[in-house]
């Protein structure tokens, strides 16, 4: 969702820009923490994006997703009003209840200001009203009271940040400026509770945090993408994505794999392959998604299987798109090798970017 929202908003809002100079994303700028955990308000877009798996005491599986998205529309920056929309914040949360067999989701949008909605500089902290994601000490805390469910989750890092691309400079297309700053925190230990159907259930599990910021749009010609992030059981982590064009062909790929010893392999364009294994057709939208996907990178082949098939998100109200985003299991040679999240966009209608 975060990525999709980013892309769509970028497209919608990009015409607002013009007078504003956004800082470019360039290679060779080393990330520094905790500064880069925080917000980068000069850049056009930024998101903090947590996906994960959790299990309650009865063994029920949940997939969850918490995204805070920041956008600098570049309008009214010289407006003296405290309401001037210099920074916008969006939040999207989702909970897949495997036993209930369905996806709950909710969203919020606000302009930053008055302390009611902000993205903090200097360390991770973003909130809209009482929805908030914040780093306190080493631990990330998410507190979300959505319309028909609630998340009260803490995420403790067990590994250091995994810098994507070249030391955090992650390319999104053939041109050097088509890039973002991007790091991930895989293998976050989850504790806390989810409340669904009026019942609060303590849970534990494992999660993945992405933090990415940039000023550029997507590569021209892209109509959708497939993205996956998997926490491998052995302590390793895999991130991979591809951009697709109108014909379904791959436009750009990227990915990285950190092995249990902390060795990171960054894949060159073309080294990542997504192959649909099974498709599921949504009765609601009629769209067909490759919900079971085979992901191949040099040295690692994973077969993805969704927690439940129906993890379609109707985001027409905010992003004007219907897409699929859900918890998946990863199998290596038929053995469960890890869990993570898969995002499939552009299958309902080409994203009109």
């Amino acid at each position: 969702m975060g990525r999709l929202l980013a892309a769509v908003l970028l497209a919608l809002l990009s015409c607002l820009a013009g007078a504003v100079d956004y800082p470019p994303v360039a290679a060779g700028r080393p990330l520094a923490f905790p500064r880069d955990f925080g917000s980068h308000p000069d850049f056009r877009n930024e998101w903090w994006y947590v996906t994960g798996w959790a299990k309650d005491r009865e063994g029920r599986d949940y997939g969850f997703q918490v995204t805070f998205f920041r956008h600098r529309p570049g309008v009214a920056e010289d407006n003296a009003s405290a309401f001037a929309p210099r920074q916008l914040l969006f939040a999207h949360v989702a909970l897949t209840d495997a036993a209930g067999g369905r996806l709950h989701h909710d969203q919020r949008a606000a302009r930053a200001g008055f302390g009611l909605a902000e993205a903090k500089v200097g360390d991770t902290g973003a909130w809209i009203g009482d929805w908030r994601l914040e780093r306190q000490g080493e631990t990330y805390r998410a507190r979300i009271a959505a319309r028909d469910f609630a998340l009260e989750l803490d995420f403790s890092p067990t590994q250091g940040p995994m810098l994507q691309g070249e030391g955090g400079y992650s390319r999104k297309g053939p041109l050097p400026r088509q890039a973002s700053y991007y790091y991930s925190l895989p293998h976050l230990a989850v504790s806390g509770a989810v409340a669904v159907d009026g019942q609060r259930r303590p849970v534990s599990g494992t999660a993945w945090l992405d933090h990415e910021w940039s000023s550029e749009g997507l590569a021209p010609g892209a109509v959708g993408w497939d993205w996956v992030g998997i926490n491998l059981k052995n302590g390793g982590a895999l991130m991979a994505f591809r951009l697709r064009d109108r014909s379904g062909a791959t436009l750009w790929t990227a990915g990285s794999w950190r092995d249990p010893h902390g060795e990171v392999r960054v894949f060159a364009p073309g080294e990542v392959a997504f192959t649909p294994r099974r498709r599921w057709r949504s009765t609601a939208s009629g769209a067909e998604y490759p919900v079971a996907m085979a992901v191949r990178v040099p040295g690692l082949a994973l077969d993805l299987e969704p927690l439940v098939d129906d993890q379609e998100v109707d985001g027409r109200r905010s992003t004007r798109a219907i897409y699929w985003e859900g918890a998946v299991r990863a199998f290596r040679d038929g053995q469960e090798a890890g869990v993570g999240y898969l995002e499939l966009t552009g299958y309902w209608q080409p994203l009109k970017l």
Partner: protein
């Protein structure tokens, strides 16, 4: 034996005998019903439209926090938004933007602009969630117009609209439509609105949605304690109700006029039925002897009246619906009252209202005929069959006491205060005085005719005869006169009231318009104003001897009532009467007190009295002020408060102005100075007006507003005269044999005609004497009770003698003419035949 009254011949006989007197009664009833129903339809269409728009706009808000004087500190917004009972809070800046391109618009419409945070607003208002791209919504110079605004401005998406902010022009681009009903309205980003209209840091409204399970009343109480003095918490429907409240007095007054018309209609039924039963006395008695019971007779006659009522009612509803459509198409929903500017209301046939007014018409007809019918039913058939006892019927009406008792009751009712802020007892007094006059009429008519008998008639036989005949039939004469007396009285009362009002208004305008030039840029509550630098530039112009800047704004003192106007201008506390039309004496403020002068409406609705210390919610602190006097304000019936501009500026920090009064120096030409002043600003932003033009314009508006009343007066008199002529014709017909006898004993046709004309003149004289006296009394009730309690302003009584004399002369002339014509018609038949009849 079957009931005789069911026989069709009997019914036909009964109805046919009503003749064209019945027709006049039907018309009068139709007039009343049409007026009542038409006004009701127009008004309820306007109110429904306003309320619907307010409700649509409020969306899902549970409570609204509103700035009392149009602006509150935006710091309140995060404080409210983070309260545990609040689920969503949507801040808004509301303003009335002046559109210079529409400066000449007849309706003086403003574009209402809502500055919103679209993200917050769409949490409460699903309509706004449907706005297109965030792109345009966030840009500070984009406007989204509702269909009414699109039509009014004649623009389409992509076009530009220029509005006035201060004395600058702000160009905004129409980015799309917003599906909100009602008057012209635009939505734009709150940051853009705050910056463009000089309202940084200010909000006019915060809409709140409460969390589930939180009680509205409890939350309203709890949140109210957080609010500064400049803010107040309301239910979202308060504004809509306020709109209805605003027009209530106006509407009820029109309804009352309709009821007066119905009353006159009922009176006509009364008069025609009474004369009919007199004339048909023997016929009815015959029916009784043939076996018709008393009850059956009553039902028969009341049934006749009911038929008249139903026919009149149906005709009235049809006319009223046409009237409503005509009014909506021509004057708009505001009926010329400017209460509902820019509404596009339409009135469909409303069956319950139609049924109600039809019922009222029927009721008036039945009630009108009740007295004469019961009277005739009581009479013994044997006596009634004897000829010549008609006048006996009226014998017991010769006592003045019941009438005088009604006068006393009317006086008592007039002294009572308003009920629910409406002058119900005032109207009761009017009805009581009318009834009193009708009851007293036979007695008064007899006295007046006695008086006339002492006039030196120089032996002019027709006059003597006329008088003798009338004196012998004073009871019947009174019945014939009742509708004319009522309509003359109502017309005279309205004429005196309107004349007094106009005269007082002229005086008032002369008093207030003392400067040479008036500069105006905006009216209350809108986006146009003169900032400090513009004021300095104006004051520095050559030829300006004195310039006084004025600021006006709306203060909302009570959520259930329309806002009160606060007028900040210069008043010398030691000589306030020099600048303000004070009522009674001013009062020196206590030392150290800030004086204010309140309008009579403040006295009436808020109970403020001279000398009282009250608090005004200005800025963030209540400002204690002392009432130093009461002044007459014919413009703002919702109430107004005058304060010295220095005191206002010190308390509020607001140094802007809406208007300036300019006195030019010796030798300076007013028109040149005015031209130089307006030339300082882009065309159309600042308007210069001269007192003479302003006065003419105000009086023209006044005359237009009361044009409807003049039409009503004319209609009332026409109906009254028609009633008189019908009755007169009936009297003449009834007395054909007398004329026959007169012809036989040597009077010629001309002499008989002269006699009839004399009778007409005498009748008109009686009707005018009684009607004008009654009208005078009614005008006092209208001025001092009805107007005061409805609109809260006083006026000086001025009797328009000239127009009244003209009116009296025309009525008398018409009565003579009517009498002569109906007499001539009645006498077409040969004298011989006439004498033979009935012998």
């Amino acid at each position: 034996m079957p009931s005789l009254y069911l026989a069709p011949e009997v019914r036909r006989l009964a109805l046919a005998s009503q003749g064209w007197r019945g027709l006049v009664a039907v018309l009068a009833l139709a007039l009343g019903v049409a007026l009542g129903y038409g006004v009701h339809r127009v008004h309820s269409a306007a109110v429904a439209e306003t309320e619907g728009a307010a409700r649509r706009l409020a969306g899902q808000a549970d409570l609204v926090v509103r700035a009392v004087d149009g602006g509150m500190d935006e710091a309140l917004y995060p404080r409210l938004a983070t309260r545990p009972e609040v689920a969503a809070a949507s801040p808004a800046l509301e303003l009335e933007a002046k559109v210079p391109a529409k400066a000449d618009d007849r309706r003086r419409e403003r574009l209402r602009i809502l500055g919103l945070d679209i993200f917050r607003a769409s949490e409460l208002q699903p309509i706004l969630a449907a706005l297109p791209e965030p792109t345009d919504v966030l840009r500070p110079d984009r406007l989204f117009l509702n269909p009414a605004a699109m039509a009014w401005l004649g623009v389409r998406p992509g076009d530009r609209v220029t509005v006035q902010a201060g004395v600058r022009e702000v160009a905004l681009q129409v980015a799309g439509t917003v599906d909100l009903p009602g008057r012209p309205l635009a939505v734009m980003d709150i940051a853009g609105a705050q910056a463009a209209f000089g309202s940084l840091g200010r909000l006019s409204r915060i809409d709140l949605r409460l969390r589930e399970g939180v009680g509205q009343d409890q939350a309203a109480r709890d949140l109210a304690s957080l609010l500064p003095v400049g803010a107040r918490i309301e239910l979202p429907t308060a504004r809509a109700r306020q709109a209805a409240e605003f027009t209530r007095a106006y509407r009820v007054n029109l309804d009352m006029l309709a009821l007066v018309a119905l009353f006159t209609g009922g009176l006509l039924v009364f008069s025609s039925q009474a004369l009919a039963v007199v004339r048909r006395r023997r016929q009815l008695a015959l029916l009784r002897t043939l076996g018709l019971t008393r009850r059956e007779l009553v039902v028969l006659l009341l049934g006749e009246a009911a038929v008249l009522g139903v026919v009149g009612g149906i005709l009235g509803v049809v006319l009223g619906q046409g009237l409503a459509n005509l009014l909506l198409a021509t004057t708009g929903a505001d009926l010329g009252g400017a209460y509902f500017r820019g509404l596009n209301a339409h009135a469909a046939l409303h069956l319950p209202a139609a049924a109600a007014f039809l019922g009222l018409g029927t009721l008036a007809a039945v009630l009108g005929s009740l007295a004469p019918v019961l009277e005739v039913a009581k009479a013994s058939p044997a006596r009634a069959l004897r000829a010549g006892d008609e006048e006996e019927l009226f014998a017991r009406h010769r006592s003045p006491w019941p009438g005088l008792a009604l006068v006393a009751l009317g006086g008592a009712a007039a002294a009572l205060p308003a009920v629910a802020r409406l002058p119900f007892f005032g109207y009761a007094a009017i009805v009581l005085f009318l009834l009193a006059a009708i009851t007293l009429l036979p007695w008064v008519a007899a006295r007046l005719l006695d008086l006339a008998d002492r006039l030196p008639l120089n032996g002019f036989a027709p006059a003597h005869l006329a008088l003798a005949q009338l004196r012998a039939a004073a009871g019947q004469v009174s019945l014939a006169l009742a509708p004319l007396v009522a309509s003359v009285a109502v017309a005279a009362a309205m004429a005196i009231m309107v004349g007094s009002f106009r005269h007082s208004l002229e005086d008032w305008l002369d008093r207030l318009l003392s400067a040479d030039i008036y500069l105006r840029t905006g009216t209350i509550g809108d986006s146009a104003f003169l900032p400090a630098d513009a004021q300095a530039r104006l004051a520095a112009l050559a030829g300006v001897a004195r310039i006084e800047f004025r600021r006006s704004l709306n203060l909302s003192l009570d959520p259930e009532r329309p806002p009160v106007a606060l007028l900040a201008r210069r008043v010398d506390p030691r000589a306030a009467e020099r600048t303000l039309p004070l009522v009674g004496d001013g009062r020196q403020p206590d030392p150290g007190r800030i004086p204010v002068w309140i309008s009579e409406a403040m006295q009436d609705t808020y109970g403020w009295q001279p000398g009282q210390v009250v608090e005004l919610p200005l800025g963030n602190r209540p400002l204690p002020v002392q009432v130093a006097g009461v002044w007459r304000d014919y413009v703002r019936s919702g109430g107004s408060i005058v304060i010295n501009r220095d005191d206002y500026a010190a308390a509020s920090g607001d140094a802007a102005a809406n208007e300036a009064a300019v006195w030019v120096g010796p030798g300076a030409a007013e028109s040149r100075v005015a031209g130089e002043m307006t030339g300082l600003f882009p065309a159309g932003l600042v308007v210069a007006e001269f007192p003479g033009d302003l006065k003419r314009l105000s009086l023209a508006i006044f005359d237009r507003t009361f044009a409807a009343t003049y039409a009503l007066e004319a209609a009332a008199v026409a109906v009254g005269l028609a009633g008189l002529s019908a009755s007169f014709a009936a009297l003449v017909l009834a007395r054909r044999r007398e004329f026959g006898v007169l012809r036989h004993i040597g009077m010629d046709r001309r002499q008989v005609a002269a006699m009839l004309a004399c009778q007409g003149g005498l009748l008109a004289g009686v009707a005018l004497a009684v009607g004008l006296v009654l009208g005078g009394v009614l005008s006092l009730v209208l001025v001092h009770v009805v107007n005061r309690q409805s609109f809260h302003w006083s006026m000086d009584i001025l009797v328009p003698w000239g127009p009244l004399a003209l009116f009296a002369g025309s009525v008398a002339g018409l009565a003579v003419l009517t009498a002569a014509v109906s007499g001539r018609l009645a006498m077409r038949r040969e004298a011989a035949l006439a004498v033979r009849e009935d012998w």
